[in-house]
Amino acid sequence: MLLISCPNCGSRDETEFHYGGQAHVPYPKNPNELNDRQWAEFLFYRDNTKGAFAERWLHSTGCRQWFNMLRDTVTYEIQAIYPMGTPRPDAAGRTTPDTGTASTAADSTTTGTAAPDISGTSTATTGTTPASTTAPEGATK
């Protein structure tokens, strides 16, 4: 179970959230000009990064707001949480150690920790809503 720090609501269990896949995939600027290959890229091809991955999450049973997260797809460590419509924070300096085969201990699945926030957005713990998180530009599902 990931523990996810919603920018609006604070730390909540993963079960309150809905996964939205890769972030920063804009709708084509001139859709009429795309060929079949380019449409396929937009519809079906997404990065499948091993390591730091920018992805979208929806706090579906909380504030119902979308936000972006930078998460390591090997360790599942949450590295940053930042508003939609803002650029991906720099993840330089992070390494992705190969963890090899998984531990079978049940508690090893609890990997989510409140992220060190490098986007400048407050990881609100009081339930207040920072203005910077209410800009769901491009927040399509």
Binding site: F44, N48, T101, A102, T104, A106, T109
Partner: protein, 406 residues
Amino acid sequence: MSADLLPEHPDFLWRNPEPKSSYDAVIVGGGGHGLATAYFLAKNHGMTNIAVLEKGWLAGGNMARNTTIIRSNYLWDESAAIYEHALKLWEILPEELEYDFLFSQRGVMNLAHTLGDVRESMRRVGANKLNGVDAEWLDPKQVKELCPILNISDNIRYPVMGATYQPRAGIAKHDHVAWAFARKCDEMGVDIIQNCEVTGFVKDGNRVVGVKTNRGTINTEKVGLAAAGHSSVLAEMAGFRLPIQSHPLQALVSELHEPVHPTVVMSNHVHVYVSQAHKGELVMGAGVDSYNGYGQRGSFHVIEHQMAAAVELFPIFARAHVLRTWGGIVDTTLDASPIVGNTPVDNMFVNCGWGTGGFKATPAAGLTFAHNIATGSPHKLNKPFALERFETGALIDEHGAAAVAH
């Protein structure tokens, strides 16, 4: 169904050769699919100067982690054709490989819990029959007769309204399947090279001519990728993209019990699938974790969810204990169908995207992928599963239609 029936633990069944400097073909991935591909390359196409490269130990990835269910009751013609061909191969392989890997055709039941499920299921039974796949519709009473421990009462959240049943489906000992293929490959001269991780490819223009590994560079005429969850990583090294997302998929076993569960029961709606292994442990799986992941582990709430479903359907499981849970990395596509065929790189071929249900397809994946690698063009069974379908739009949308999230 007891421990005495299991074959004795085998002695070493294959050599551990040093990689040669060159091969006619290199298969990346020493799991079930990679080994089956090498087997059919050697047997059907006479290509014995080939190697299977495995970064860990043989069949230690998803081949070691799946729930071993084998069935072919898929909705669409293309899927039914390839999975039914696989099932027919499963039926003859123990003899052909001279290895009894305990393929047990105990039947697979796919439960229906809603009116929508019932309609979909009946449609699938009809489609299966037209494609020569054995399929029946069972009412709740017949479900209970075949699997007496199932709760068919109306007083549960999602009552059992019936099921589809494929009598020829079943389970097999997954490790033994891999070892059976590996032994035959080795006998025919195939080099199975473990602890050999691919770190890059050597290309001449757009043609692959070699594989870089942690044990040196290996020249080769052809490369077949069969790396499941890590397919995207390999494709990136080779300079192309795949429409794949890698997710954790978890499964679990209970401690050993006396035989209580005579068949295989799958439920898409409440999301669990259960069989009882030959030794006696209850084997269960569910759907993938929602997020992308290469960690070979998932979140525990997914396990809780599938346990809740299992206990409601099988009340006697309430007193069983979870002995072990684990996860693998599955390579999912958006139409829930595999990708087998050519790639944008010349002489490089890919077999991936089997997602949560690749084990059952092992023999047919090997057969068709070997054909594709040897001849350069697809076998008629894997032709519809080419990468191009994402551009042409000829998707094979098996989501939900194929009984369960595999």
